[in-house]
Amino acid sequence: MGSKASGRRIVVGVGNPDRGDDVAGRVVARLLRDAPPEGFQVSEKDGEATALLAELDGAAAAYIIDACASGAAPGIVSRFDAAAAPLPSRTFALSSHGLGLAETIELARALKQLPPICVVYAIEGGSFETGAPLSPPVAAAVATVAERLRAEIAARVETEEARHA
């Protein structure tokens, strides 16, 4: 129980695999899984709050990718520094039982379990229909996000190494 300073570094793709563009975050995770950034564990979650909380607990750095529905055009990518400020809750869909990603992150913050580095990439979804495939703009965005994520993590690692050199 409680926060454990394990120093884990994680990438988590969040979403429902059977609801169209909602799977976008998980697809990004799959793109990173075969060659994960060094020192990072890559996983997929369905968004259930307590499972995600357990994943965040004790992590030193977390990069989360989720689909969102803010009203922007499908495929638009937003980046949020969740360690610095709450996510805009209207941007992120609520999960079943009403605890969506924004609420889960706030729960982690309230319980002092939020990793000191916590970055969220949000991909605007177009269709959340049951059984639907990724819509074309979202399918294009997932590859972009995977590369941005790799670049961001590499840059941060480089900065850290330079700091410790």
């Binding site: 409680g2 979403g15 869909a93 079943s96 039982h97 605890l99 706030e106």
Partner: protein, 430 residues
């Protein structure tokens, strides 16, 4: 006539979407409707034409919170059609798995969804800021339930290890020991949960419900039993269709169930508790008494307390089952296909879950019927709203909305789920 609409966050990744409409005329509640507009999911149609062996994995997808319930009702119904009895060791293992689901589902509801209503918080996040240790206890308790399902089901959500005839793999006795250690902590935490919830301030509201739940000759029921009611019903699961009917109402994509020739009834923790108090373990009974619960509770606002007692029971029962566990020689029994009709009823965390399957001679599913607890409780939830909120109409609108939501949350509906996403229309007319 004034119509006020309070909107809440946009919903996308949800298992259910719901709304409430309460019409108040001349200072009294004229009507209350729980509207469920989630698209129909057609699971019964998906099952038709599939081999019966596929059923546990298909029905596990119906719900991310209570997949074990769907699996357990399904496998028993199909085994009933096949004339198969899996025997005591496999039955006990299934009960153990069901304990895990009760612990995780009930704990989620008690701590994250329902407790904020009683402690005056908007939700679990706000509650966690002031009661971090309590929320951490709830999360760890839920995790103990997840651990059971992970071990027996192969994974926490939508388990994959349940099959018609038993399991694909049964655990070795030594695998259960770490679980037992976690569950001993969980049992203490569950007892603390009962004591904590007992201090809440409960609205004094009661109704003369017809409570319907399974009743078993020995066990507090989740896995099996006859279907009983507090008004004298006592039938085998294969008689369900003769006594209950579902009807469609325009405002809901979930069917409404009623007793034939009767009316609304209530399934869930209160029903189980009221029909089976004598079947609880001594520890759970003592905790219930200490918490001020008698053998009968007709106040749905106290359902949080009954859920806490059921979590304690589930931890206690899980430990008993682990202690008594004997490894089976085979994880499954033979299930040769044959034509037939089978019935299964178990107790999902939210209440009675009935399945019926008609099989063709080659084991193909010809017809499937699934009656989930939430559809059975919808008429009673609406009746609760009509009866209970009349005394709160003078409250400010936000407070009244909160009371309405709390009244729905008492029953932990799975389709429209619980926390703060009901859109409420209050219509004041003359």
């Amino acid at each position: 006539m004034a119509v006020k609409t309070i909107k809440v966050d946009y919903l996308a990744r949800v298992e259910g979407e719901g709304a409430l409409k309460v019409i108040i005329r001349d200072g009294a509640v004229a009507s209350a409707e729980l509207r469920i507009f989630e698209p129909p999911r057609f699971f019964e149609a998906f099952l038709r034409g599939r081999a019966f062996v596929e059923t546990p994995d298909i029905v596990a997808r119906i719900c991310g919170i209570c997949p074990v319930a769907y699996q357990m009702s399904a496998v028993q119904a199909i085994e009933n059609a096949l004339g198969v009895d899996v025997g005591a060791p496999l039955r006990d293992l299934r009960r153990l798995m069901y304990c895990g689901e009760w612990i995780e589902s009930h704990t989620l509801h008690v701590y994250m969804l329902h407790a904020p209503d009683f402690l005056g918080y908007e939700g679990a996040v706000e509650m966690a800021r002031d009661h971090g240790d309590v929320v951490r206890r709830g999360l760890a308790l839920k995790k103990a339930g997840n651990a059971i399902i992970s071990l027996l089901g192969g994974r926490e959500i939508h388990p994959i290890n349940v099959r018609v005839g038993g399991f694909y793999r049964t655990p070795r006795r030594r695998e259960l020991q770490p679980l037992a250690e976690e569950l001993k902590w969980a049992r203490d935490a569950a007892l603390e949960t009962v004591r904590w919830a007992a201090r809440f301030d409960f609205p004094e509201r009661e109704r003369d419900y017809e409570f319907v739940a399974l009743r078993h000759e020995r066990d507090y029921p989740f896995y099996e039993g006859r279907i009983a009611s507090t008004r004298g019903l006592d039938i085998a699961p294969d008689q369900f269709d003769a006594h209950f009917e579902e009807t469609q109402v325009e405002r809901s994509t979930a069917l409404h169930a009623r007793r034939k020739g009767g009316g609304a009834y209530l399934v869930g923790p209160l029903a189980r508790y009221n029909l089976n108090f004598d079947r609880l373990s001594p520890l759970a009974k003592d905790a219930a008494r200490e918490a001020g619960l008698g053998p009968v509770c007709a106040n749905p606002y106290r359902s949080i307390l009954v859920r806490a007692v059921e979590v304690l029971y589930a931890c206690d029962e899980a430990l008993r089952l682990i202690d008594a566990y004997e490894e089976s020689e085979w994880p499954t029994v033979g299930t040769p296909p044959r034509a037939g009709v089978g019935f299964g009823a178990t107790e999902a965390p939210r209440g009675l879950l009935y399945h019926r399957y008609q099989l063709a001679a080659d084991g193909t599913i010809a017809e499937a019927r699934i009656v989930p607890p939430t559809s059975q409780n919808q008429p009673s939830i609406e009746e609760d709203l009509r009866r209970f909120i009349g005394g709160w109409l003078d409250l400010p609108e936000e407070d009244l909305r909160h009371r309405c939501e709390q009244t729905v949350r008492n029953h932990d509906p799975c389709i429209s789920c619980a926390t703060h996403f009901l859109r409420l229309e209050l219509e004041h007319g003359q």
